[in-house]
């Protein structure tokens, strides 16, 4: 895999506050890395250092082999960046703003015009092209920011909360756009929407207090959930003790937790050993016993839960 972004031991201190504390990773072509982490974790600060806006206290950033501090221009030419909150010159129109960005990126004349109009089409800005940016809705402002970032078809895209504050339709559109671009780029995005990691990212990274506490695929992240691959069931007319007794004999079952009773209904959750897949065996057992099953389904576990576990001080899982 072609390495596009290489970050080593990145650290940033604002006086006594250590915002980023020894972060290292690489991102390759066709990878979409999702940054997760609580507010103030250091996601934006990391991105600001990757894009050359902030100088790291220590550590290095290489963009396509160019050190961002020694060869900032070469590195920045390869980067597209949507800063947090999508800042833009408010008194400009999307048309004049994107033309300005295009010129700064070295486009002139007919190429400039074509590039701007192609970008405008990609992010659907046609309807507001000549309206001043300050009068645009949040969604359109975000799109202008996105347009500005992708205008020069960069090899690397850094997007700080690209879907923040968008309605579900716009979120969907932006995600589709990002997914389409992922084929030929390396993308780093940050988000507070955990499902987005599933929808978009090939890799997830959780940062807490400036440190990387998780780096893996979204599936691996899910696997960290204590509820991952557990089985939830509701069965009628069976003594819970009998139920417990039989289910515990199923291969791979570690623990059964009763969740509640409602008349003769018993609700329970079955935990597997080592997150293994036990649903078929449970189903088999239930059928053998001839129990009246109301519900029986697997739980993938909630990312929220994993997120909380990984980012709150008491870490109970490793």
């Amino acid at each position: 895999m072609e390495i596009m972004v290489e970050i080593k031991n990145l650290r940033k201190a604002f006086g006594p506050i250590v915002a980023v504390d020894g972060v290292s990773f690489t991102v390759g072509k066709r990878e979409v890395l999702g940054f997760l982490g609580p507010n103030g974790a250091g996601k934006s600060t990391t991105m600001k250092m990757i894009t050359g806006f902030l100088t790291p206290t220590s550590g290095t950033v290489h963009i396509c082999g160019h050190n961002i501090e020694d060869q900032p221009i070469e590195a920045k030419m390869r980067l597209g960046y949507l800063p947090e909150g999508a800042p833009a010159y408010q008194d400009m129109t999307p048309a004049s703003f994107l033309t300005f960005i295009g010129e700064m990126r070295g486009y002139r004349g007919a190429t400039l015009k074509r590039t701007v109009s192609e970008t405008v089409e990609k992010v659907n800005l046609q309807s507001v092209l000549n309206q001043s940016i300050e009068t645009l809705s949040k969604g359109f402002k975000r799109r202008v920011g996105l347009a500005q970032a992708i205008l020069h078809d960069p090899d690397i895209l850094i997007l700080d909360e690209p879907t923040d504050g968008l309605d579900p339709n716009q979120k969907h559109e932006v995600r589709t756009l990002i997914r389409a671009m992922a084929q030929e780029k390396a993308i780093i995005l940050s988000t507070h929407i955990l499902e987005e990691v599933h929808a978009l990212c090939s890799r997830a990274m959780i940062i807490a207090k400036g440190k990387v506490v998780f780096d893996g695929t979204p599936a691996e992240l899910e696997g960290k959930s204590p509820a991952h691959n557990t089985v939830l069931g509701t069965i009628a007319g069976v003594d819970p003790l009998v139920l417990h007794h039989h289910l515990m004999t199923v291969k791979g079952v570690k623990k059964i937790e009763e969740l509640g009773r409602d008349g003769d209904l018993v609700k329970f959750r079955i935990y597997p050993d080592d997150g293994q897949w036990i649903l078929p065996d449970i189903g088999h057992c239930v059928r053998e016993q001839g129990w009246e099953v109301r519900e029986l389904y697997p739980d993938r576990g909630k990312l929220d839960e994993v997120f909380r576990l990984l980012t709150t001080p008491k870490q109970t899982i490793s």
């Binding site: 100088t55 920045k76 030419m77 800063p83 800042p87 408010q90 008194d91 010129e103 700064m104 002139r108």
Partner: protein, 245 residues
């Protein structure tokens, strides 16, 4: 057109896209006219020159230029566009120069719009147009000096009111340092070379010597190097303070 040119164009267009241009130019023209005619006794002097007009320029600039300069960087910081600008493939120097030159060019436009003053004096009499041209040049250079100071102060804070007030005070220092009144404060005890140094930093002295029509290279160099110094300071300050949002 290089990247400085692109930034220059955007900035200059920005002045005219907002009411800033109109307000600034109108006030500049009104005040320079009022000063010249009422305070400067333009007609009563019975002389065909623009001395009273140019005499008031330092005081006019003292208030108007910081008002123009205060938003240069403070606004970029406040709105977060500084992050956008500085992550484009552009050097700090290009960004600082592009923005400064646009503001300077804008004051140049305002200054050029005072041409009716020059027309009037040519209609009424037979002035030395060489002196007038030199005065215009001196005025432009002085405006650049004030702007460069304002640019640096504007980079120090995102609060435009603070930027304005501090710029005015510093600019005032650069005007007053040539005044006998100020120099007398030092004259009793400070060594002569210090006195000379202080008075040599006066915008007033250099401007007045240029507007006498003597284009001394030293006066021009004074303003140009002062501009270079403050722009360098601007770049340094931005680099130091850009982290603070």
């Amino acid at each position: 057109m290089g990247r400085i040119g692109v930034i220059f164009q955007r900035e200059l267009a920005g002045y005219f896209a907002t009411p800033i241009a109109a307000v600034f130019i109108v006030i500049f023209l009104l005040l320079s006219g009022a000063f010249t005619f009422y305070l400067g006794n333009y007609f009563a002097r019975g002389q065909a020159d623009l001395v009273p007009f140019f005499d008031f320029h330092p005081w006019l600039y003292l208030v108007l230029i910081p008002a123009l300069a205060m938003r240069l960087w403070a606004e970029e910081r406040r709105s977060g566009t500084i992050e956008l600008l500085l992550t484009l493939p552009v050097t700090m120097w290009e960004a600082v120069a592009g923005k400064f030159l646009a503001a300077w060019c804008f004051t140049g436009i305002a200054l050029a719009l005072t041409f009716p003053m020059w027309l009037t004096v040519n209609l009424l009499g037979d002035p030395d147009n060489g002196v007038i041209l030199a005065s215009y040049l001196g005025s432009l250079l002085m405006a650049g000096g004030f702007l460069a100071i304002g640019s640096c102060i504007s980079a120090l804070t995102k609060n435009q009111v603070i930027a304005f007030v501090v710029s005015v005070v510093i600019s005032l220092g650069f005007i007053l340092s040539g005044f006998p009144l100020v120099l007398e404060l030092f004259s009793g005890w400070a060594p002569q070379f210090l006195l000379n140094a202080i008075s040599s930093f006066s915008f007033l002295t250099h401007f007045q010597s240029i507007s006498k029509g003597v284009l001394d290279l030293r006066d021009i160099l004074f303003f140009l190097s002062l501009i270079a110094f403050w722009l360098f300071a601007t770049a340094t300050v931005i680099d130091m303070k850009k982290a603070e949002s």
